[in-house]
């Protein structure tokens, strides 16, 4: 298990390492800050969708072991979302930080993006075993906000594009699929049932 998790950490950090290399090698083109912001936002959204894929995939395949990687994947969504927000604050707005308050209030795509990050923060802070125990049933209720975070994250992407919504539409479709797979009737149908033991032959 530790080996698998180590591999997952390395894979999850690869995009980050790649971007750091891009900065040092000056491979980010004319507007590196825009490029970094966009790339880290995309990775946050991808990890969020990946975390939402764990449960349906577990149901379909019956591989319950997958549940053990869900927290790790979710925390990387928070990690990339935090890097994304930090780049916006420190590199992009640098020196004009007060602008963020105005942005959050006045610009709907930033409002929903910031709300999504706040949601991820709440989930990250309560992701420990201790918090799980302490919150009990309320932990499950709280962590259902991840569906809302997914919707906010896709809206954040959708509303920032000027006219070509094809790319956010792909993410919206993936999110819709992952949510539909959770509807109880659908979830029941995709659930792989443990095969019943073969009936013992009696008599002859």
């Amino acid at each position: 298990m530790i080996a698998v998790k180590t591999v997952l950490h390395v894979l999850a950090l690869l995009p980050f390492a790649w971007l750091v290399a891009d900065i040092y090698l000056d491979r980010l083109g004319a507007d590196p800050i825009a490029e970094l912001t966009h790339a880290t936002g995309l990775w946050a959204l991808r990890f969020l969708l990946l975390a939402l894929t764990v449960t349906p995939l577990r149901r379909v395949t019956g591989w319950n072991v997958l549940a053990r990687f869900r927290r790790l994947i979710g925390l990387y969504a928070f990690f990339y979302a935090s890097v994304h927000l930090s780049i916006y604050l420190v590199l992009d707005l640098g020196g004009y930080w007060s602008q963020i308050l105005e942005d959050i209030v006045k610009r709907p795509y930033i409002t929903v993006g910031f709300a999504a990050w706040c949601g991820l923060l709440a989930l990250a802070l309560t992701s420990t075993r201790g918090m799980m125990r302490r919150l009990g049933r309320r932990w499950t209720q709280l962590h259902r906000i991840v569906y809302g975070i997914g919707v906010l994250a896709v809206l954040h992407f959708w509303w920032l594009v000027k006219s070509d919504v094809r790319e956010p539409a792909v993410y919206a479709a993936l999110l819709a699929l992952l949510l539909v797979l959770r509807l109880p009737p659908v979830a029941r149908r995709i659930q792989r049932r443990p095969r019943a033991p073969a009936p013992v032959q009696r008599g002859a």
Partner: protein, 270 residues
């Protein structure tokens, strides 16, 4: 560079210039795709010669004119302008071209010519971006006649002492340095003198975000981007840690152009 005389500053700024590689690799030219790098990838399909421009509308002379004939009588001038994109970034680019006003005057616009409307080429064979209706094709833009006649307004045919790159709107594009970049329409095939304010592409798509005038104005926010400051994409160093700079009214050309809008409420006529 030669020293710049006072008053000349507006025509040739001495600010640090954007690298040629950046100005030709980071473009909004949706006819070739909506990605910033799409125009550089696909604009080689554009055939810029022969190129004709149709001059139409309220003028004594109209008709289809070959580009060479259109430009022949005019002396090419160099201009170094700031270019401010509505998305919050800016560049400094040396252009060469002819003042639009001098070119238009030759066609003797009549008193009814209150506005000038421009149209970009829309040929799906040369422009793969046309397959997706990101905006209504062809791209159209417009200026009020006094804006068109202003000495700062340029029809560019070159940049950085070379031919205009195709991704930058070859062979003929507009440059209106005090307006957001999307007003500076590329690869122009038609110029028409009209009486009423002509439709413009971005305004048609989202009237609440893009006005007809679209003068650079730090006091009027775009619903998606604050226009108070900008990322200046210039110089040869890394821009990862570069500071934002404040955006100036009329992109720093207020002294030359503010009088065009005297008495107008610029919050209403954004």
């Amino acid at each position: 560079a030669a020293p710049v005389a006072p008053g000349e500053e507006a025509f040739r700024t001495t600010e640090e210039q954007t690298r040629y590689e950046d100005a030709t690799a980071y473009n909004n030219f949706y006819e070739f795709g909506t990605g910033k790098d799409d125009p550089a990838k696909y604009a080689h399909r554009l055939r810029t010669s022969p190129w004709n421009v149709e001059i139409a509308g309220h003028a004594e002379t109209t008709g289809v004119v070959a580009l060479e004939d259109l430009l022949k009588p005019l002396a090419v001038q160099e201009r170094i302008y700031r270019l401010r994109c509505v998305e919050g970034w800016s560049m400094v680019i040396p252009w060469s071209g002819v003042p639009l006003g001098e070119l238009l005057a030759r066609f003797k616009p009549t008193a009814q010519a209150k506005y000038v409307a421009f149209t970009t080429l829309a040929d799906p064979e040369q422009m793969p971006g046309l397959r997706y209706r990101s905006i209504r094709w062809p791209y159209v833009e417009g200026l009020r006649i006094d804006e068109a006649m202003h000495p700062l307004t340029l029809l560019a045919t070159g940049m950085y002492g070379r031919e205009l790159a195709k991704q930058n709107g070859a062979p003929l594009r507009l440059i209106v340095p005090w307006k957001y970049g999307f007003k500076s329409i590329k690869s122009i095939v038609k110029i028409e003198f009209v009486e009423n304010m002509p439709p413009t592409s971005w305004n048609e798509l989202q009237p609440s975000e893009y006005g007809f005038f679209s003068n650079v104005n730090p006091d009027v926010d775009h619903p998606r981007w604050s226009q108070k400051t900008e990322r200046r994409l210039a110089g040869s160093g890394s821009r990862v840690f570069a500071d934002r700079i404040p955006t100036r009214p009329f992109n720093g050309y207020a002294e030359q152009v503010a009088s065009l809008y005297a008495g107008m409420d610029l919050r209403k006529w954004f």
